[in-house]
Amino acid sequence: MIPTNQTIEPDDRQLVETIRAGDPGAFEVLVRRKTSKVYSLCYRIIGNAEDAKDISQLVFIKLWENLEKYDPQYAFDTWLYRMVTNVAIDFMRNKQSRDNAVNSNLRLVKTSFDAEQGVVIQRKEVESVFNAVSSCLSPKQKTIFVMNQMDDMPSSEIAKVLGCRESTVRNHLFNARKLMQLQLKKQFPEYSRLWKEQQ
């Protein structure tokens, strides 16, 4: 057998077992490994870097506190995503009750025009348009839309994360698209025209 210096990194389940055995260093490894995934999802759901950072930290603290409840027969990421969506949805519900749709009055200025379509899409604008338009969605609808359209998760996986049926996820997606089209028409008619022409 050929000796090797390559160290094999433990998978998520093994890390959880090590943490449960009382090694806090293993938890640090887990945080480092999952930070980008957790933060990306939080940022896309919440749409604000600082809030997303705070929510991500809260997710990891809850993760530490509830690690004993994790059942290793399920995928760790599914369990982690469930925690992220729960915390993010709670945060959005609280925020909605405080200030309803901060971005509802946002109106972007077009930077240039296309002769045929009337608008040239700027990638940076798309994020702002999404934040403005998605404010009409419920926290759950927005979470499902983000997971499906931006994190490329299939509806079956989303159903596992949220603990609901796949048909429920598809319904939420359908309603989210409809609501966003209406908002797009109201707030950004140039984009809406583009959408309508193609559908």
Binding site: P24, T35, Q57, F60, I121, V129, F130, Q149, M150, L194
Partner: protein, 176 residues
């Protein structure tokens, strides 16, 4: 990443192949084309890459671990000061002290209440002069006969009381 030509040639409404989505999310030139094919690509173009929190992953991890350390220390201290066995021990000590004091007080109260019958049996307090006179050491005179004596009876308070008689006689023996 695939070329723009390959992307445009293969893109269909609802496409979700990873290489097509990767191109969509990195090529500004093809974004207009993609939205023209399927408007859903407008928002699909946002996702994909993993983001880094402000300050970087290391700083974020450090913050999380520090918060956990603070929480763990707090809960440990709280556990040390307010542990249930300790609380129970303190409560039991206080309860035992109160009960003991109550029992002692009740016992003393009972003893004091039972004193009056004993006090009634004792002689009534007499005047200082009477108590000082050595009357009890003298023999009780039941009968006395004399022609020269002057006998004075002192009126008593109750009918059962012993009658006190004062005798003045020059010939009275010294021991009476």
């Amino acid at each position: 990443m695939i070329s723009c030509n390959a992307f445009r040639a293969n893109l269909r409404p609802g496409s979700s192949e990873p290489e097509l989505l990767e191109h969509l999310r990195h090529c500004d030139a093809c974004l207009d084309h993609a939205v023209g094919v399927d408007p859903d690509f407008l928002f699909r173009s946002i996702g994909g890459e993993e983001l880094v929190p402000p300050g970087g992953v290391e700083a974020f991890t450090h913050d999380v671990m520090q918060q956990l350390h603070v929480r763990t220390t707090e809960s440990r201290l709280a556990h040390r000061v307010l542990s249930w066995p300790r609380r129970l021990a303190v409560a039991a000590t206080i309860a035992a002290g109160i009960t003991g004091a109550a029992v002692v007080w009740q016992h003393e109260q009972h003893t004091f209440e039972s004193l009056p019958p004993i006090a009634a049996a004792t002689p009534k307090p007499v005047s200082h002069m009477a108590a000082a006179a050595p009357l009890t050491t003298k023999p009780v005179v039941e009968t006395y006969d004399s022609k020269n004596a002057t006998i004075v009876e002192v009126p008593s308070e109750g009918s059962n009381d012993v009658k006190v008689v004062m005798i003045f006689d020059d010939q009275l023996p010294a021991d009476l």
